[in-house]
């Protein structure tokens, strides 16, 4: 640290002297510099995130033609999408996927965080192993999961058909939409519970231990300590996790599409509509807008009614 001061001190100090004489106050200079430093980031975010979102809304009113001029069609795309049974079935699949994967990941994260909050040998190693599902690239873990459920060689069928006899034959669980959605949910829980675990664990570690001691003196059992101290303390972070998980899981594409082609959640349905077959970008844009509106609606509801901010 000392060395850094010295180095900084040796810098030619022309800039501050010049700035004092150019007639601007310190606040004004700070304001200018603040904007100058943040401007590149803001410009790029505006150009590549905000503008596309608005342009997407614009596109949803057009019959988009990639090589020529697009044709304005008003609300035709919206009417077509809303009248499409596949859209409603995709929406239903999405809701099911989001509800179960969010609840599963949050509950499992809570449970694992409670376990990891105890002291035991090798805890450091165990804690980092738990995070592996979350950081591993989706593409590198989907194949292992596919193999796990593979009807011929997979271990799942080996256990539940050969050893336990729960199935009457070897079934390809990823192969049919009805069962594949559950595989996708289990995969999502496995992949994402470490996020909930990490957030809850850091909250647990911040709880004042005196609370527990006081409760013990008053004769509280472990169950009561959990109900009246731990749960209220993690209540806020759990709500935040649920909100984030719903947002993320609702928008999930890769974790579903790369695992199985049989689960058409909204993102996958939109992708297939816009980039395969007839490449209907206009309808794709409409679907993306509808999905976004649904999400905003949910966020507003959740924040106002459940978290009560």
């Amino acid at each position: 640290m000392q060395a850094q001061f010295k180095k900084a001190g040796k810098q030619p100090s022309g800039s501050s002297a010049a700035a004092l004489t150019d007639g601007r106050t310190r606040t004004q200079r700070e304001e200018l510099l603040g904007w100058a430093l943040v401007l590149p980031s803001v410009a790029i975010i505006l150009a590549l995130i905000l503008y596309p979102v608005l342009y997407n809304i614009y596109l949803s009113f057009f019959q988009v033609n990639l090589s020529g001029a697009s044709r304005f069609v008003g609300f035709l795309n919206h009417r077509e999408v809303l009248g499409d049974r596949e859209f409603w079935s995709a929406l239903l699949t999405t809701v099911m996927y989001v509800v179960f994967s969010t609840i599963g990941a949050t509950l499992l994260g809570l449970g694992v965080a409670l376990v990891m909050n105890e002291k035991f040998p090798l805890r450091g190693l165990v804690r980092s192993l738990i995070l592996l599902p979350y950081v591993a690239p989706v593409i590198s873990v989907v194949f292992s999961w596919q193999f796990f459920f593979d009807p011929v060689n997979g271990i799942f069928m080996d256990i539940f058909y050969d050893k336990l006899g729960w199935f009457s034959q070897r079934i390809n669980l990823i192969g049919s939409p009805a069962t594949a959605v559950w595989v996708a949910i289990i995969f999502s829980i496995w992949k994402n519970f470490p996020f909930a675990y990490l957030m809850i664990l850091s909250r647990l570690q911040a709880i004042d231990q005196n609370l527990y001691e006081a409760a013990e003196i008053d004769g509280a059992a472990g169950r009561h300590k959990f109900l009246y101290i731990t749960l209220p303390e993690v209540y806020f972070v759990v709500n935040a996790i649920i909100l984030l998980r719903v947002i993320w899981n609702f928008n999930k594409f890769e974790e579903v599409y790369l695992l199985t082609s049989n689960v058409k959640v909204l993102s996958v349905y939109t992708y297939l509509k816009a980039f395969t077959g007839a490449m209907d970008l206009g309808q794709g844009a409409t679907l993306a807008v509808l999905q976004f509106i649904l999400l905003i609606g949910f966020i507003l509801f959740y924040v106002k009614r459940v978290i009560k901010w």
Partner: protein, 320 residues
């Protein structure tokens, strides 16, 4: 809760921990095991291969593959005709080697590496200045920008993909390989920028302003203090953000699959693997070996920043 007093409870607790660990790492163990098994061993539910088979790794890493597809007779022929020039020899061999059957893993690996390293670098450079501005300077509009950056949490990839694709096609960016590469680079950069800004901003606020003040009294400019004080003091946070950005770019599939559709030479690992899986070469050992090699860099990097992540610095500052 767990004390030595009740041994039964202790055993139960240990089993619980083991079950959690197994649940987390089983897919990785299976991946490793299958990548080392022979085909006749796949149906064997044991994770330990009956006999080790390194062929998949050798093939992907291009070790000892040069003469694999060349028929015996051609090799003999070449041996018996010493008057051929080296150029002619390699031309003959090339005919047999390039059967399109080989999965160019190393090329895809290289593409992914260049793209991710560069995108993360730009993202971090922009974020250092932006985050400094957030956390240190006071100006009108700062709160709006800060909150606006967090809005990005709500935008899924698909919402941005369609308009960006349309724009990039319209301006002709996707008609050349270079343009496509740059387009993807910029997208990866902007995807991680908001989170980088947020994480670094939070970190910079923990550095006492008095240190900077002292340097400025001694005549250092703002840029001087950023370069000589802020960056050295937060180098571990910057490294964390860099690695985080790298990982996001490394794992990305959605944009790459649409943009790179017609440029096979630019494929990144995620599309490469997906293509390999649906192709006729879909053989479990190769798929698993490729999965292992794709996961390894990310896992290794993650282990290096793990302390910072679990320390809570990144808590709340991640986006999927």
């Amino acid at each position: 809760m767990v004390t030595g007093k009740r041994p039964l409870r202790k055993i139960g607790f240990t089993l619980l921990v083991l079950a959690i660990v197994l649940f987390c790492i089983f897919p990785f163990l299976q991946m490793l095991s299958l990548s080392l098994k022979y085909q006749w061993d796949w149906g064997n539910p044991s994770l330990i291969p009956s006999r080790l088979n390194f062929d998949a790794y050798k093939e992907l890493l291009n070790i000892g593959q040069s003469l694999k597809n060349v028929p015996e007779s051609i090799i003999n022929l070449l041996d018996e005709s010493p008057d051929l020039t080296p150029a002619q020899r390699s031309a003959i061999l090339a005919k047999y080697q390039d059967t399109g059957d080989v999965f160019p893993f190393l090329k895809y690996f290289g593409n992914s590496l260049v793209l991710s390293l560069t995108a993360a670098l730009f993202s971090v450079i922009l974020a250092v200045f932006g985050a400094y501005s957030f956390s240190r300077l006071r100006y009108r509009g700062r709160a709006v920008i800060q909150r606006g950056v967090l809005m990005v949490y709500m935008f899924g990839g698909i919402l941005l993909l369609i308009p960006l694709y349309k724009v990039f096609v319209s301006i002709g960016l996707l008609s050349t390989p270079t343009g496509t590469f740059i387009g993807l680079l910029v997208i990866y950069m902007v995807q991680t920028l908001p989170v980088s800004l947020y994480m670094l901003g939070n970190y910079f606020r923990t550095i006492p302003f008095s240190i900077e003040e002292a340097a400025m009294i001694e005549g250092a400019s703002r840029f001087g203090t950023i370069w000589r004080i802020i960056i050295p003091l937060s180098i571990s946070a910057i490294a964390t953000v860099y690695i985080y950005s790298f990982m996001i770019a490394w794992n990305e599939y959605l944009f790459a699959s649409v943009f790179l559709k017609s440029y096979k030479d630019l494929y990144t690992l995620p599309i490469g693997l997906k293509t390999l899986f649906v192709s006729k070469n879909a053989i479990w050992d190769r798929i698993m070996a490729a999965s292992m090699l794709t996961a390894l860099p990310v896992m290794a990097l993650f282990m290096t920043i793990q302390k910072n992540l679990t320390g809570g610095m990144a808590a709340g500052g991640v986006k999927e």
